[in-house]
Amino acid sequence: MDIIFRDREVFEEVQRRNLINPEVVAKAYHIAPERIEKLLYFAPAKAIKIGMARLVRSGAPGDTDVYGAQQHAPLLTIELDL
């Protein structure tokens, strides 16, 4: 999942203060922080890349989202104090 910021200043402040980090994301998803496998800041696109392992392989029986396209809603609950 990617979070892309509109404002470079906001992105830089968030990065500087590490406001979006594995603990914050894990809390939004009600999971342990260890399940956030990757979280990095990509300055050229003012973006944060988040990687989380799937519960079920794509398209395996019982999967709920083959493309993994609709798992982002909990990110919208994250509030930042800027």
């Binding site: 990617d2 696109a45 003012k46 990687g51 519960l55 794509s58 395996a60 083959v66």
Partner: protein
Amino acid sequence: MAKEYRILSPTAILGYGFPEESFMRGIAEHPDLIAVDAGSTDPGPYYLGAGKSFTDRTGVKGDLRFMLVQGIKNHIPVVIGTAGGSGARPHVEWCRKIIEEIAAEENLHFRMGIVYADVDKEVVVNAIEKGELISLDDQPIPTPEQVRECPYVVAQMGPEPLNHLIEEGCEVILAGRCYDPVCFAARPMQEGYDRALATHMGKILECAAIAATPGSGSDCALGILKEDSFILQALSPERKFTAQSTAAHTLYEKSDPYHLPGPGGSLDLTGVSFTELGDGRVEVRGTKFVPTPKYAVKLEGSRCVGYRTVSIAGTHDPILIASIEKVAQQVKDRVTNLLLHDDLQGEVFFHIYGKNGVMGNLETMEMGKPHEICVVMEVLSDTQEHANTICSLTRSTFLHYGYEGRISTAGNLAFPFSPSDIPMGAAYDFCLYHLLEVDDPSALFSDEIVEIGK
């Protein structure tokens, strides 16, 4: 090598279509190559396992017709990568047939090179037994039995296997499973252009106008590769490439935007700059290629894990909705019991939309009080007949189940369709998504050259 190499990318996936005006604007730019990525593993394991295309034949033929007619008429080579959606032999044959039809209908004559990505399963088994298969993302190593259960196993080829076909004067190259940028990068690399820049440009061009703004996977893009940079250009007046849209595209489908691994090595984007040229075009420079000590290709394979039948129904009863999770479990338990009596094996999954259909166990929200929900019953069993039987049992049990507090007894579920149960055929699961190291980048990939329309 010439100062520039121009590549026209008509669409993000062959078959998605594109506006004729955009394509012809691209042709007017005198491209040196028309190339398209024809496949993906995004749609899941079914298409590779079943040997079928996820793209529609009419759409694919329509797109190819434009590419081949303009390509051959204007002496512009054409390259198609990951043919037929998954790039195994049946997918390549499927696409070849479409090309032959177009050639006959349009009276086109050309030399076509075909390169296959199918890997001998015993080569993979051998690597497993020697402990040489490399896991990605902690995926378990498959057993030899599981590998042999995959109807098709492919390896993502790098640019090297296409060189021979380029040297032999193939005007059209039809390739099986490729590392996505390869269908764009192979030809300019053969002419001496930088591997890192060609590959990076290919990574963006494979998505056509998705990296432009507003983005679109069914609109064309032009890439201009130079000695130490490349330029991206939209071919529709309402779209343009910006530094932001191009940089943001680096995030797409990648777990690390700074290091993009591929056959032979990785792209290092730590020093990349994206510069707007002020006319809706962006120039990219600074990509580096870091070779791996040993050349590795990524294998893909999916195996049949059973047969599936589904039933779709809704419910609007507030008492049932309030206790849906409990009732679903009770239905499952009742079905499991009945199956034991009949010695039938199967798995039952409920997808409850309105509760947690999309996120499953990852859902964080409470259901609340929706006035309706949708229950999709998914059954997996060893044969289609057994899946049908178990689905029928599950569906009728659910429909008539006397759950606690029930008031309306006419039927618990609203079916939109008659028949209510839908046999879905074979179900597959990816079991190969691993790296295989090779001494020769081309050894795994066989090819042939055919004269079309002659």
